[in-house]
């Protein structure tokens, strides 16, 4: 038994290593093809215009222009394997310390948004599915369809205008109060600053999971075993709890853990609107500024997140449905 687990674990490990290699090569290749001129982006055209040619050459060297891409990739990879993610060209700090700060901010935001959208989405999906065709179902469905065609940044701006500008009940952005020293910033302050970005992310996140859950729930409600349960006089709640819950949970879990990538992507836009200093913002500035080491690290971390999400989904399958567990270890 232990051996079987070890093999399964080993397989996963190989897979994740291959994934990281593939992702890093793809990201690097895309960056090399990118039309962004790092000098133009980071130093600026007007600044370059008042420099001597010597200085421009010095800068080109710093931003890695002129070196063949393969050499650059290999030297990056060599350091990365030894656990050194390199020094961010933009921030002049080690990539790990840049990411550490941003990740804490982002994780808080993303976990909140992910949990909220998952729970709310599952819940309204079940309600809609069990009340198919009724008013509440139509409302939920309508809401989900409208929301899923709403651009993230637009919704974020809308929330900002309503709660930040008109009602003035929530801050207009940042993760800390304006002009307050760190010692004076309370947890409540931070929470308050995360409300709008988290809300923007979760409001959008619910529609996908709600619609899928609803569909699955409708299938279940139409099945023979539910008909049989109804015939036995079980209440809706009993039917849901005994026959629906586990069945509908499976697709929901897959979706929700798969949605990690979407939350990740959404956070980039939301963080921009709310001037929230998270990983998303760092990814944007690394991308636009051609900061190769930083962008590579962020890409790999996000790939690991998505991989981790799917892995957790696999493990949870086993817990929810013992049949899969037995199959998986065989």
């Amino acid at each position: 038994m232990v051996k079987q687990y070890a093999i399964a674990f080993g397989k996963k490990l190989v897979r994740v290593i291959l994934l990281v290699i593939a992702v890093s090569i793809a990201a690097f290749a895309l960056m090399t093809c990118s039309p962004v001129d790092p000098l133009q982006a980071n130093v600026g055209q007007a600044a370059l215009g008042s420099m001597s040619q010597e200085q421009i050459e010095k800068l080109q060297e710093y931003w890695g222009q002129g070196q063949p891409p393969v050499t650059r990739y290999l030297s990056w990879a060599k350091d990365f394997i030894r656990g050194d993610m390199g020094v961010s060209l933009l921030y002049r700090q080690s990539v790990s310390s840049v990411i550490a700060v941003k990740l804490v901010n982002s994780l808080f935001l993303m976990i909140t948004a992910w949990l909220l959208s998952g729970l709310i989405g599952f819940f309204i999906g079940v309600i809609a599915g069990m009340n198919r065709g009724k008013l509440i179902d139509k409302c939920i469905k309508g809401y989900c369809l409208i929301i899923s065609s709403t651009p993230t940044f637009w919704l974020a701006l809308l929330l900002l205008m309503i709660f930040g500008v008109w009602l003035k009940v929530l801050p207009i952005g940042l993760s800390v109060p304006i002009g307050v020293e760190a010692s004076g910033v309370t947890f409540l302050d931070r929470l308050q600053h995360a409300v709008l970005p988290a809300a923007a992310l979760s409001i959008l996140g619910v529609s996908n999971i709600a619609l899928h859950t609803r569909e699955k729930m409708i299938d279940i409600c139409e099945s023979d075993y539910v008909l049989f349960a109804k015939a036995r006089g079980e209440s809706s709640w009993q039917i849901f709890w005994h026959h629906g819950f586990r069945n509908v949970l499976l697709p929901a879990i897959t979706l929700q853990f798969g949605a990690i990538s979407e939350i990740f992507g959404g956070s980039v836009l939301v963080e921009q609107v709310f001037s929230y200093p998270g990983l998303g913002q760092a990814a944007v500035s690394a991308g636009l500024g051609s900061d190769m080491p930083l962008l590579m690290a962020i890409t790999i971390i996000s790939a690991l997140f998505v991989f981790g999400g799917n892995l957790i989904a696999n493990i949870l399958y086993g817990i929810v449905d013992p049949r899969i567990r037995r199959g998986g270890v065989r």
Binding site: P35, G44, M51, Q55, I127, G173, G278
Partner: protein, 549 residues
């Protein structure tokens, strides 16, 4: 059946109340907190303006010095030069961009222009209590020379501290405009300098950096031991945000000075007025001044239409800059006639009057005759070109479109195309591009019009004139800054040759973009220097002299 419905309703309402409950409490507590803050703010509002000594200013996200507040990594320098605030500089620039002493008590330059000797004040301390000596100055400059990631120090051989208060700069070549470099390099303490200096900078400037919430804000406090006049504004908070967020910050009343763009200039914000500050943040187009050809790499150089001086002259007087400023910038701009309008090295002979008739006459006289479709032609060359602009810049796009309409009236056909910066530089060698410049140094003028040794042509747009080259070389080699201004001016127009309408006019300048800010009522923003290219730190160059009424 009834039972089922009831039980379902129960589940629903229970769940709903749970959800609402969660949201409700969070909302409530936030509410309470903020309403408290709100009422506090309101109370303060009545009393505060008379004694308020703090200010909140927004800046674009790109203004944040990612690599820290270190002069070696570009703090103070770059596209948007500004005073470094935290550190003090040897000299500083005045309102009209002339040079004034700061840390330096006196400076002189040797006849050959290769040695600068600076005497510094001996009463200046860093905020950690240590004295600022010539050693620190020498260290700062040598460090910048070795590591500088933005500012150009290639002309500095070495900085040497002769004694406690004298420092000597030995140059590799004469560089008369060195004071403009000295005006933006903040002096760092040698004893407290490390790779991480930029994260926790120590200086001797007007402000101390209290806190930096990366990606969000920087908080400055007045330096109580500052050697100059004590700052009136005791606390300055700078927020880094996108344009929309900056506007929202003003609408919510949370920022005192909020940067904005011409697009939003029609908005009326309660309690704010729109202020505009003059800049040398210019926009212009290059007109390749040689005939079409290819260089050895196969790159197209030159343009058969714009290589005709008469065509360039016609375009320069045939475009209505005022109309363009009204249309594109809602009036917030000034006509531009050079890359350095109003700066000390600017030659006002560059100025021209809009005269469409004269422009058409010039074209006719030069043999450019209108064809059947109204577009001119000469010797089989059609008066047509592609006007390119950086696709990420909507203002430059709008300027390009406006220009196309105006050129059509002259019988010149242009079509616009947005391009990325990866190809823009190469394309500009043969096609006009909408550029944006505006630095606080004549080096810009030099790089734009001076020929490159290898190609024999100017770098950004093919053009060459020995006389212009000669004046600029002399200006750089001059040992007197005042005299060099005159030489820079002569490079533009010396009475017989130059780069103005009377001369070769290889670049056409369109407008200087005013920098727009929403400023809270009651705040007195001190008179601004001519702003350089881009929104950014220069707005708070003199924040120490701002006050509330």
């Amino acid at each position: 059946m009834k039972k089922k419905i009831i039980s379902l309703l129960c589940v629903c309402s229970l769940a709903a109340s749970l959800l609402m409950g969660c949201g409700g409490t969070a909302g409530n507590s936030a509410d309470k907190n903020l309403s408290e803050e709100g009422s506090q703010a309101a109370n303060e509002n009545t009393a505060k303006n008379s004694e308020k000594d703090s200010v909140v200013v927004t800046m674009p996200v790109s203004s944040e010095p990612e690599a820290g507040f270190d002069p070696a990594y570009g703090w103070g320098a770059g596209e948007h030069v500004h005073e470094p605030l935290i550190q003090s500089t040897l000299v500083t620039t005045t309102k009209d961009l002339k040079i004034e002493n700061d840390l330096a008590g006196d400076y002189s330059v040797s006849e050959d222009g290769l040695t600068w000797t600076i005497t510094i004040r001996d009463d200046v301390k860093f905020t950690d209590g240590e004295k600022l000596t010539a050693e620190d100055v020498a260290f700062t400059y040598n460090n910048c020379r070795d590591k500088s990631s933005v500012n150009d120090f290639s002309m500095l051989k070495e900085a040497v501290a002769k004694d406690d208060t004298t420092v000597e700069f030995q140059m590799t070549k004469p560089f008369s405009i060195w004071p403009y470099t000295m005006a933006i390099v903040g002096i760092v303490p040698e004893h407290a300098y490390s790779e991480n200096y930029g994260q926790q900078p120590i200086g001797s400037g007007r402000y101390i950096m209290k806190q930096w919430d990366k990606g969000q804000q920087v908080i400055f406090e007045a330096n109580p031991d500052y050697y100059g006049e004590a700052p009136k504004m005791k606390k300055v908070t700078v927020l880094f945000m996108e344009e929309d967020a900056s506007l929202a910050a003003a609408q919510a009343g949370q920022a005192d000075v909020s940067y904005t763009a011409a697009l939003y200039s029609d908005l009326k914000l309660d309690g704010y007025s729109l202020e505009h500050y003059a800049s040398v943040d210019n926009r212009g187009i290059n007109l390749p001044a040689v005939s079409a050809d290819k260089n050895e790499d196969g790159l197209a150089i030159g343009n058969d239409l714009t290589s005709d001086t008469q065509v360039r002259k016609a375009i320069n007087i045939g475009i209505d800059r005022e109309e363009m400023i009204q249309n594109v910038l809602s009036g917030y701009g000034t006509p531009a006639y050079s890359v350095c309008d109003k700066l000390p090295w600017y030659n006002s002979d560059s100025e021209v009057e809009y005269d469409q008739e004269e422009a058409i006459r010039l074209l006719e006289d030069a043999g450019w005759k209108a064809g059947d479709d109204g577009i001119r032609e000469k010797d089989g060359v059609r008066a047509a070109f592609t006007l390119i602009y950086p696709s990420s810049d909507s203002v430059r796009q709008a300027l390009a479109e406006d220009l196309v309409n105006q050129l059509k009236e002259l019988g010149i056909e242009a079509k616009t195309e947005g391009v990325g910066w990866d190809t823009a530089y190469d394309r500009a060698q043969s096609e006009p591009l909408v550029w944006g410049w505006g630095a606080h140094t004549p080096m810009e003028l030099y790089n734009m019009y001076h020929t490159d040794k290898e190609t024999g042509l100017a770098e950004y747009s093919p053009y060459a004139n020995e006389i212009v080259d000669k004046y600029m070389d002399q200006a750089l080699a001059s040992s007197n800054l005042e005299e060099s201004y005159e030489l820079w001016q002569k490079a533009q127009w010396d009475g017989t040759a130059g780069i103005t309408q009377e001369g070769d006019i290889p670049w056409i300048w369109l407008c200087n973009i005013d920098h727009l800010y929403f400023v809270k009522d009651g705040l007195q923003v001190a008179e601004q220097k001519i702003h350089p290219h881009g929104h950014g730190w220069s707005i708070i160059n003199n924040v120490d002299a701002w006050s509330w009424e």
